[in-house]
């Protein structure tokens, strides 16, 4: 299989997307399922990184395997294989396999085609060896994923989707601008360490930052994900932010700024998540929080921290996917995902409830669940580097995660007061998908050595020692205590049927209001000018009509007259400028 080993992993997905377009029924399902399986096997068996990386020569890439394409005068490198890209490659195959099973009952060609294109673009992005091909897949991610939101086909979804797309395209434009400047400065478009010493570096960082939901750039995520279709959100949660995390880990490891940004990302969403009613939106906020841990890890930049960041990305895709899947199953059956309207569903959906609890335990980093083995790496690295206060912030964030994602999600959906809703258990394919994810969560949580073996940097680390386990359990139990106590005392924010607007207020409310105000002012100004002009024109006309000139119809037809005027202006202006100014 020599020829195949250099086959970029996105190609099977793109071909499958075409095949899905022309097939129907069972054949289509088979193609959908076979794509990630075959692609994943190919990646697992045929593709090996050149040399295992060690911490010292971090990210010097091995280009033994590369698949290049000449696009105008540039060489596009579609297949740069090292352990970092390979880890994300495995992850995206697993994630797309789970999500495809979860979405198998969907009969919507658009969604099926774009989800394959979307997964393919994500794979293309992590294996891209230069900034131009990264940009191509970056835009591919944006253009394909937006259809997963639009596919809900409601007025609201179309509007939200469009706003989502604007953010994503902006990120793409910034990336392109940055890449062009980077090329102009360095003469190369290779995608390796970039750093923030140059303007180009900043532009690219902001582009990555939009996709990884930095504070104030995050609104597309919290707005868009809850609006997508139940199955679409599962795809969305797996790829976009993780590609961004990958890109940050590749381009900006050890950038101090990222530690602070990451710490902010872990904390601020907690407040919103606690008061939010739409449970999928709660998950969207908790997603920012989890990405915050990864960004922190990248910012610290030691081998342990970077390993922790990518390992956490790996786990996050699976447990966050599991949570989104369980909420999607509820939405699918009940048709509504507001915490205020649900409750007592454990009676009718016991399996979904159980699987949701596994996901909740993993995201809260319970020992023996997957979140614990990766989050603790980031936390340890933080202490080792002496960021004590930031470490406390992360501790607070960990408690917060448990609060809103670990307890709130399962509690309000499945337990709480009985809402009287009686529905059927989730469809079999959804249950299978969720079970796979749940098994993975527990497997990685109990046998972390297999995940650690895949990590790009060589580090000896073992999470199950006394301090870690105890500290984590203390946080969790006190956090649970706080939840129970607040609830008993009636102090816990009640689930209200309301929409919380955070930073998107600026462009959903402030900008339109400013625009309206300035428009009114402009209009008044225009009116005044127009009146003045009209009066003087009338004055001119009365003089003109009295004169003999009016007998010649000089300017009767608008475009012709106006164009001839312009010709005169340009010719005259040009000649004057030519003669006097040059």
């Amino acid at each position: 299989m020599i020829w195949a080993s250099s086959l970029p992993p996105f190609i099977p997905f793109f071909i499958a997307a075409l095949l899905v377009l022309v097939t129907r029924g069972h054949l289509r399902s088979v193609i959908l399922l076979a794509t990630p399986v075959l692609g994943g096997l190919h990646l697992w068996l045929d593709v090996q990184p050149f040399v295992p990386m060690v911490a010292s020569d971090a990210l010097i890439t091995a280009k033994e395997l590369s698949y290049t394409l000449n696009m105008f005068s540039y060489q596009l490198e579609f297949m740069r294989v090292d352990k970092l890209s390979l880890l994300f490659g495995y992850l995206f195959h697993i994630a797309s396999f789970i999500a495809i099973i979860y979405a198998l009952h969907v009969r919507d060609t658009t969604q099926q085609v774009v989800s394959l294109l979307y997964a393919g673009s994500a794979l293309g992005a992590v294996f891209a060896g230069d900034l131009i091909s990264l940009f191509i897949f970056w835009e591919g991610l944006a253009l394909s994923s937006v259809f997963l939101i639009w596919a809900r086909r409601s007025e609201q979804a179309i509007k939200t989707g469009t706003r989502y797309l604007i953010f994503q395209v902006m990120s793409g434009v910034l990336l392109l601008a940055g890449a062009l400047m980077y090329f102009n400065q360095t003469g190369s478009t290779d995608f390796n360490f970039i750093g923030i010493e140059s303007t180009a570096g900043w532009l690219i960082l902001i582009a990555f930052g939009i996709k990884s939901a930095f504070p104030f750039l995050h609104t597309w995520l919290t707005e868009g994900y809850p609006e997508a279709t139940p199955t679409g959100t599962v795809f969305l949660s797996a790829f976009t932010t993780k590609v961004a995390v990958y890109a940050l880990a590749r381009g900006y490891p050890g950038t101090d700024l990222l530690v602070y940004v990451g710490a902010a990302m872990t904390c601020f969403p907690i407040f919103y998540a606690v008061i939010e009613n739409d449970l999928r939106r709660v998950l969207a906020y908790s997603m920012i929080n989890q990405v915050g841990f990864m960004v922190c890890g990248i910012g610290i930049g030691t081998a342990l921290a970077l390993n922790g960041a990518v390992a956490h990305a790996f786990n996050d895709v699976i447990f966050k996917g599991l949570l989104f899947m369980s909420m999607g199953a509820v939405l699918h059956r009940v048709g509504n995902i507001n915490g205020s309207d649900l409750g007592g569903l454990y009676k009718s959906m016991p399996k979904t409830a159980m699987l949701c609890i596994v996901g909740a335990a993993s995201i809260s980093a319970f020992p023996l669940f997957s979140g614990f083995v990766s989050k603790s790496m980031v936390m340890s690295a933080m202490l080792l580097e002496g960021h004590n206060y930031l470490w406390l912030m992360l501790l607070f964030a960990s408690a917060g995660v448990f609060h809103h994602a670990g307890i709130k999600i399962p509690y309000f959906a499945f337990f709480h007061h009985d809402s009287g809703i009686r529905v059927k258990e989730a469809p079999t394919n959804m249950l299978i998908a969720m079970s796979i994810a749940a098994v993975l969560c527990i497997f990685i949580g109990t046998q972390p050595q297999y995940l650690y073996a895949l990590l790009p940097w060589k580090v000896d680390y073992w999470p199950y020692d006394m301090t870690h386990v105890l500290a984590q359990l203390q946080i969790l139990f006190f956090s649970a205590l706080a939840f129970v106590w607040l609830n008993k005392q009636g102090l816990y924010p009640p689930e209200l049927r309301s929409v919380n607007i955070d930073f998107e207020w600026t462009y959903r409310k402030l900008l339109p209001a400013t625009a309206r105000a300035s428009y009114t002012v402009l209009q008044r100004f225009n009116c005044a000018v127009a009146n003045a002009a009209q009066q003087s024109w009338q004055g001119f006309q009365s003089v003109f009509q009295a004169s003999r000139l009016s007998q010649y119809h000089l300017a009767s037809s608008w475009p012709t007259g106006s164009m001839v005027l312009w010709i005169g202006v340009i010719l005259g202006g040009y000649l004057l400028a030519d003669i006097y100014f040059k």
């Binding site: 253009l143 086909r153 012709t560």
Partner: protein
């Protein structure tokens, strides 16, 4: 034998075909003959391009009169590329035309329509081929007069007004051009471009030469619809028969841009231009045009008019390359010349297919058609992506070179404007797609549910162009390669 007279045949074939087509009985015959001619011309143009692709220059003496006294056809990579664009688009438009013309033009005028089309093709090819500045004027008039006639054949009554306005404007443009040519002739005594290029440098300081240049620039700025002299274009494109819009949008303005290139770089030389306000003027007008015209396009309610405004903005991108005056800039101009013909051709063909089925070009009449006509819809999406400049499409390549050219000279404002223009393009392409795909609640959609996919005769040429948009987004040997060859000859001093 053919190879020796290749350059002439390219112009003579359609010219000879025109009267024959005109006297053929109305029916399919005129169409068949014109199609045949356009295909042979396309073949010849491709042959010609291969002959000059490695940097040779073919000089053909018309009637055996040696230049500079006789008329010379002087073919290098730039001409050959433009000739290929013109003939290629004609060869694709004519098969497409069969059904559309039957629907839009009265039966008794079919033969005349195709005759006028052949004349227009003759004129455009002639402009591209000739190396004689007066001969260029003659071909300019041939193409202009025939296009006035073609536009006036539109179904709505406004077509007559639009054609009339274009006639006035076009005539002013041509007159300005001939005034300029007259002044040049008075100063140098020659009409041959290569000869002029040799004689002009010693007269650079002369005010008459500056005036001549100003007249020629303004005249052609009119013909290529450079903002703010574009006012004739939206009406002409909107009311002309669909086929005419496709053909003119993809070729006529491109040929005018080519003439601009030829005048600026070959005849006058960029060292002359640098001492005039031309480059600053171009940059100023183009930046304004890209922003304002893209903005105008967003607010159009008629699909053809929307694309027409977008064309004005896109032409500004090409002129921007000339205004920058660098090797990269002119390469970008030539590449965009080619790519824009591909994308606008594809888009107007797709819109034409919608018009063919619905009978109107207003956007609101298109609602929900995306589901009924998936292939046409897909063509609009891909054509639109190319117009925006998404990577993997031809549009990206031209934007890329243009941005590189602007960065090279540290014109950050222009870089911003180009990127901003792309965002505005997203908005106006989105308008079409939104109507086609999302407006599901409209009552019009009920009427549109019976609409079928466009006929195969329209889909095939449309998709040839759509696939070309993707192909030239990856393989740029033809576009960028030829453009670089052409730039070497246009700007011998640089690099």
């Amino acid at each position: 034998m053919i190879e020796n007279h290749l350059s002439l045949l390219l112009v003579a074939l359609p010219l000879l075909a025109a009267p024959i087509v005109a006297v053929l009985p109305n029916g399919r015959l005129p169409w068949a003959l014109s199609t045949l001619v356009s295909w042979s011309v396309c073949y010849l143009a491709a042959w010609q391009l291969i002959n000059v692709s490695s940097g040779q220059v073919i000089s053909y003496e018309l009637g055996g009169w040696a230049p500079p006294w006789g008329i010379e056809y002087r073919i290098d990579a730039a001409n050959a590329l433009v000739a290929l664009i013109v003939s290629g688009i004609a060869a694709l438009t004519l098969p497409y035309a069969l059904k559309s013309v039957i629907k839009e033009i009265p039966h008794q005028q079919h033969a005349l329509f195709y005759a006028a089309f052949m004349l227009c093709l003759t004129g455009l090819l002639g402009i591209a081929q000739t190396g004689d500045i007066f001969n260029l004027f003659v071909f300019l008039e041939i193409s202009s007069l025939s296009s006035y006639a073609l536009i006036s054949l539109g179904k709505q009554r406004q077509a007559l007004t639009a054609a009339y306005q274009y006639l006035i404007m076009g005539t002013i443009g041509a007159t300005f051009f001939i005034i300029g040519v007259g002044l040049l002739y008075a100063m140098t005594g020659t009409l041959n471009m290569a000869d002029l290029a040799q004689r002009l440098p010693e007269l650079y300081e002369h005010r008459t030469i500056h005036t001549a240049f100003a007249f020629i620039m303004v005249g052609f700025a009119l013909k290529l619809a450079l903002f703010p002299l574009h006012l004739w274009l939206p009406n002409a494109y909107t009311y002309a028969p669909t086929v005419v819009t496709i053909f003119l949008a993809a070729t006529a303005t491109k040929v005018a841009v080519y003439v601009m290139l030829r005048m600026v770089f070959t005849v006058f030389g960029f060292s002359f231009i640098e001492n005039t306000p031309t480059d600053e003027l171009f940059l100023l007008l183009c930046v304004t045009a890209i922003l304002s015209m893209s903005f105008y396009a967003i607010y159009q309610k008629d699909s053809k008019r929307l694309l027409a405004y977008s064309s004005v903005a896109q032409i500004a991108y090409m002129m921007l390359g000339i205004g920058l005056g660098s090797v990269l800039g002119v390469t970008a101009t030539l590449v965009h010349l080619f790519n824009h013909a591909l994308m606008k051709g594809a888009l107007f063909m797709a819109i034409g297919a919608l018009i063919y089925r619905v009978g109107s070009s207003r956007l609101e009449h298109f609602s929900g058609l995306g589901k009924q006509m998936p292939w046409t819809f897909a063509a609009i999406v891909i054509g639109g992506l190319s117009l925006i400049g998404v990577p993997g499409t031809a549009g990206f390549i031209s934007k890329w070179y243009l941005v590189l050219a602007a960065i090279e000279q540290q014109h950050w404002l222009i870089v911003g404007v180009i990127l901003m223009g792309s965002l505005l393009a997203v908005a106006y392409v989105w308008k079409i797609i939104e109507v086609l795909y999302f407006n599901a609640t409209d009552e019009r959609e009920q009427q549109n549910t019976a609409v079928k996919e466009a006929p195969l005769m329209m889909l095939i040429p449309m998709w040839v162009l759509v696939l070309a948009n993707i192909y030239f987004g990856f393989n740029t040997e033809l576009t960028v390669g030829t453009a670089e060859q052409a730039v070497k000859l246009l700007m011998p001093g640089a690099n």
